[in-house]
């Protein structure tokens, strides 16, 4: 049947991408991935995924383009302000007790979430002793992130969310306008290390006090979700914090017993200490 054939073609394409380019999408949630692959087929004028596979294998630039479909780049600053309010008022006071603070933003896309956390830390007076690791698999997204330059109109659109995150100052204090662009403060950029890292194939690179991985794992199947959550658990210090997206939880996961709910509506968890 048509549905089964589509399934075969998707699996073969993902195998081909992994064999040739070492990007592993084989454990992604399929329904959303299939929709995005269908859009890519239209874009590259391919009748079938098999035709797309031929182009992907023989034309690296087609793969580079396809990567933009395979990784979802929806990212806002201070998305779900109540999450950032909870981080600001409940997590940061506890982070402040550490001599130096390390944060991992996993699946940072174009960097909006990393800058949001950097701004919270700066507004709490902790940025100078903080390091933020922001990782993603998409090199093009990481380049945008590292530049710290966004369309001015877009950044202005985040002003209200920033205010609702409990900020007393204005978001505009953290960037300056240059024509149609907004350039985020160099101080913020200096404290963030953007780098290539795959939750599907790479390992832990540092111990951290806070992991934010929001609206990334909804794109993973359960097996890959489990892998990612195990990485976070390994990376977090005892009593460290894990922040998830507003529709994500540890409920269906085997690491759940290792965490306590810290702010349950905001999907903030705290890793339990050794007993």
């Amino acid at each position: 049947m048509a549905a089964q054939l589509a399934e075969i073609e998707v699996r073969l394409l993902l195998e081909a991408i992994f064999a040739k380019y070492h990007y592993d999408f084989r454990s992604y949630a399929m329904a959303s991935l299939k929709r995005r692959l269908a859009q890519a087929c239209d874009q590259y004028h391919c009748q079938t995924l098999t035709a797309l596979q031929e182009r992907v294998l023989h034309e690296p630039e087609v793969f580079a383009g396809l990567l933009q479909y395979l990784t979802v780049q929806v990212s806002d600053m201070f998305r779900d302000p109540e999450f950032f309010l909870a981080v600001r008022t409940q997590v940061i006071p506890l982070l402040a007790t550490y001599p130096s603070i390390k944060v991992w933003i996993a699946g940072c896309s174009t960097g909006e979430e990393a800058y949001s956390i950097a701004i919270l830390l700066q507004e709490s007076g902790l940025l100078d002793r903080s390091v933020i690791y922001a990782t993603d698999i998409n090199a093009a997204s990481l380049r945008v992130a590292a530049s710290g330059v966004y369309p001015l109109a877009r950044l202005r659109g985040f002003t209200e969310n920033h205010r609702r995150s409990g900020a007393t100052g204005s978001l505009s204090e953290h960037y300056h306008a240059s024509g149609e662009s907004a350039i985020l403060d160099a101080q913020l950029r200096r404290r963030i290390t953007f780098s290539d890292h795959s939750l599907a194939t790479d390992n832990v690179f540092s111990e951290v006090h806070l992991v934010c991985c929001r609206n990334v794992m909804i794109y993973f199947n359960q097996e890959l979700q489990t892998r990612a959550l195990r990485l976070f658990t390994e990376a977090l210090c005892n009593r460290g914090f894990l922040g998830l997206g507003s529709k994500e939880s540890l409920r269906f996961s085997d690491v759940a017993p290792l965490y306590a709910e810290f702010a349950s509506r905001e999907r903030l968890y705290r890793k339990l200490g050794d007993h």
Binding site: E7, A29, M30, K34, R35, V74, K247
Partner: protein, 190 residues
């Protein structure tokens, strides 16, 4: 009628009252799962399932990411997220681009449900002011499922039912009472 394992429903402007009527008469032990996308503003609290919940009705809840689809439960899509169904019959959420300016989109739910359920699926499109759902209903028809559209003349907003009928012209066309009876009858068919 052929056996149905899942009923999917899509509604937009003018669909709340019809939905209320359809769901308000289902018994608590209604055996089939139902998955519903209603267009709401992205910042809506997403309380429809709470509004309609009652001890005399089936369990109503928001569908969660990776949640297996259970019998006798009415699931609602969360505002701001697409609701997909994976082929092993659990839900998946995403922040993929809006479709027809909508997230959640009816097309996204219907098309993925058609892949997962094939002919054992019933799709129902209700009142609305845009064309979301038409392509999804066409996908359900193409997979051999049962397609149903609220009678455009009886709908508060007819563009969505009209578009759905262009997508799946062989659909059953029913007013709100007929829709309620059809849904209720699904509780009796085994």
């Amino acid at each position: 009628m052929q056996p149905i394992d899942l009923i999917v429903v899509g509604g937009s402007a003018g669909s709340i009252d019809v939905l209320r009527e359809m769901l308000g008469q289902l018994p608590a032990q209604f055996p089939r799962p139902v998955a519903i996308v209603v267009h709401l503003p992205a910042d809506a609290p997403g309380m429809l399932h709470e509004l309609l919940a009652s001890p005399e009705r089936p369990r109503m809840k928001q569908a969660e990411d990776k949640e297996p689809i259970a019998a006798g439960t009415v699931y609602f899509a969360s505002p701001g997220y697409h609701l997909h169904i994976e082929t092993d019959r659990h839900f998946a959420l995403s922040l993929d681009e809006p479709v027809h300016f909508c997230r959640p989109s009816i097309d996204v739910l219907f098309e993925s449900a058609a892949e997962a359920y094939g002919p054992r699926l019933m799709g129902i499109v209700l009142s609305g002011a845009n064309a979301d759902g038409a392509q999804g209903l066409a996908a359900i028809a193409a997979a051999g499922g049962v397609t149903v559209v609220q009678q455009p003349d009886a709908a508060e907003m007819r563009p969505m039912p009209d578009a759905a009928l262009r997508g799946a012209p062989a659909s059953l066309v029913l007013d709100s009472r007929g829709l309620s009876e059809l849904l209720l009858a699904q509780g009796a068919v085994r």
